[in-house]
Amino acid sequence: MHIHLTINGQKKRIEVRPGDILLDVLRKEGYQSIKKGCGLGECGACAVLLDNRPVNSCLVLAADADGSEITTAEGLGTPDKPHFLQEAFVKAGAVQCGYCTPGMIISAKALLDRNPRPSTEEIKKGLDGNYCRCTGYVKIIDAVRQAALKLKRS
C-alpha cells in the first residue's frame, strides 16, 4: 500500500506494509535524526512532530499517518544554518553523545510553539518524555531557556 506524507515540507509517496511502524519508515527514507531507543514510547529518541503534535514515532502505525505533515530535526535547520534551538543546545553544552538530542529538540520546539516563555517547571514538563543518559538535564533545560530568551528578543 502507499501513503502520502509531507516530511519537512516535502511531499512524498511511500510504499509501506500494513504492519510498518512510522519510525522505521522515516529512518529508511533517510531521516536518520530519528533514533530508535526503546521502541515502547518511553525514551523519546524517536520524537517527531506529527501535524504539529510531538509524538513517539515508534507508537505510530505508518499507514495511520497517511496524509500527515511530519517535522523531524532535519527539517528545522542545517549545519550551515541551524535552528535557534539547535544553536542553543550547542552553546549550552547540552549535547554529549547526541543520541537523545533530535528528540529533545523536537519536544522543545513543540513546547516553544505553544508557550514561548516557559518557566523551568514547564520546560521540565515539556521534556518529560525524553531521556538523556549522558548529559544530564541541567544543560538541556538551560538550552531551552536560552532559546526562549532568544525567541523573546527576536
Binding site: 500500500m1 506494509r17 500494513p18 504492519g19 510498518d20 511502524i21 522505521d24 515502547l40 514510547g41 523519546g44 520524537a47 506529527l50 503534535r53 510531538p54 509524538v55 513517539n56 515508534c58 507508537l59 505510530v60 502505525l61 499507514a63 495511520d64 497517511d66 519536544s107 513543540a110 513546547l111 514538563k125 515539556g126 521534556l127 518529560d128 518524555g129 525524553n130
Partner: protein, 283 residues
C-alpha cells in the same frame, strides 16, 4: 514492523468501522492512539481498523454535559478550558500526570478507558463523576461507566463494539475534588491513585465519591468508605477514622512493585491527604 499485521483499514463512518470489525471476526483490532495496541499486539490480531477518520476527536458542552469524543487525545483534554474547569479541575489533574507529553499527544480518551491497566489514571477520575459511555456496534447504547467497569471493558465489549463518546455531567457548584497519583516520578505508572469528589454544606458532607486506582486490577469506587463520611459533620476525627477504615474496608491485591505493608500504609496516607484537601479546605 509488526509481522502479524496483514490488513489496515481507515473507515470513514462508524457504521463502516463496525462492518470492518465484524468482517474481521475478532482478528482485527481497533486502532486508536496505538500506544498499547502497537506494543501489546495480540498474537491473533491480523489487522487494524483505525478510528482516526470517524470525527470522534472533539470536546463539546451541552445541557450540563461535557461530551468527549473517544478519539480525543489526552493532551487535548488537558488543554481544553471547559474540561479543565470541570469538577474543580479533576480531569485536568488526572490527565496532567498521565504518561509523558509525547505519549499524551497519542493516547486517546477511548483507548485509556478501554485498555484499562491496573495503574490507568483517566478512568479513576471518571468513576467519581457521573459518566456515561456511548457504544456503537451492531446496536447503539449508552451505559453508565460504573456498569461498564463491573468487568474489564476489553472483555465486556464485543470485538465489533466501539466506544464513541464519554459524557460527563458537570456536578455543579459546591463540589470540590482531588486527584493524587503516587508514583516514583510524574511520568511513571501509578503505584496508587485516588480521586475524591465531595460537596460540603454548612460543615456537613452532603455527597462524596471516592475511587481508587492501582489497588486492584481494575479501578473501583469505595462505597463503604463513602457511606462512612456521607451526611456526617466534617471534623479532623472523622477524616482520621476514614483513613483508618480505608485499610480495613479496601482489600489490596498483590502488586509486584510494592509490599502489602507499604501498599496499605500508602492507601491510608493518600486517603487522608485527599480527604483533608477536599473536606477541610473550602477554597
Amino acid at each position: 514492523m509488526l509481522t502479524n499485521i496483514k490488513y489496515y483499514s481507515c473507515p470513514q463512518s462508524i457504521n463502516e468501522a463496525v462492518r470492518e470489525l465484524t468482517k474481521g471476526r475478532g482478528r482485527y483490532s481497533i486502532l486508536a492512539g496505538g500506544t498499547s495496541s502497537l506494543i501489546h499486539t495480540h498474537p491473533r490480531c491480523l489487522g487494524f481498523v483505525s478510528l482516526k477518520d470517524l470525527g470522534l476527536g472533539y470536546i463539546r458542552q451541552a445541557k450540563g454535559m461535557l461530551r468527549i469524543g473517544a478519539m480525543t487525545r489526552i493532551q487535548e483534554i488537558l488543554e481544553d478550558k471547559r474540561a479543565g474547569r470541570l469538577a474543580g479541575g479533576l480531569l485536568y489533574k488526572a490527565c496532567s500526570c498521565l504518561g509523558s507529553t509525547l505519549n499524551r499527544s497519542l493516547i486517546t480518551a477511548g483507548g485509556n478507558m478501554t485498555q484499562i491497566f491496573r495503574w490507568s489514571d483517566f478512568p479513576v477520575a471518571l468513576l467519581v463523576l457521573d459518566t456515561k459511555i456511548t457504544v456503537a456496534g451492531p446496536s447503539r447504547m449508552t451505559v453508565p461507566l460504573i456498569d461498564l467497569l463491573k468487568k474489564h471493558p476489553k472483555t465486556k465489549l464485543k470485538y465489533n463494539q466501539i466506544i464513541t463518546e464519554i459524557g460527563i455531567r458537570d456536578p455543579g457548584k459546591g463540589y470540590r475534588s482531588e486527584f493524587i497519583k503516587f508514583s516514583r516520578t510524574n511520568f511513571d505508572l501509578a503505584i496508587l491513585s485516588i480521586a475524591v469528589l465531595a460537596c460540603v454544606n454548612q460543615g456537613r458532607c452532603t455527597d462524596i465519591r471516592i475511587a481508587y486506582g492501582a489497588v486492584q486490577p481494575l479501578c473501583f469506587r469505595a462505597y463503604g468508605l463513602e457511606e462512612l463520611i456521607k451526611g456526617q459533620r466534617i471534623s479532623e476525627e472523622l477524616i482520621q477514622k476514614a483513613g483508618e477504615e480505608s485499610t480495613r474496608l479496601i482489600s489490596c491485591s498483590r502488586d509486584l512493585r510494592v509490599s502489602p505493608e507499604y501498599q496499605r500504609s500508602l492507601l491510608k496516607t493518600l486517603t487522608l491527604r485527599a480527604l483533608k484537601k477536599v473536606l477541610l479546605n473550602p477554597k
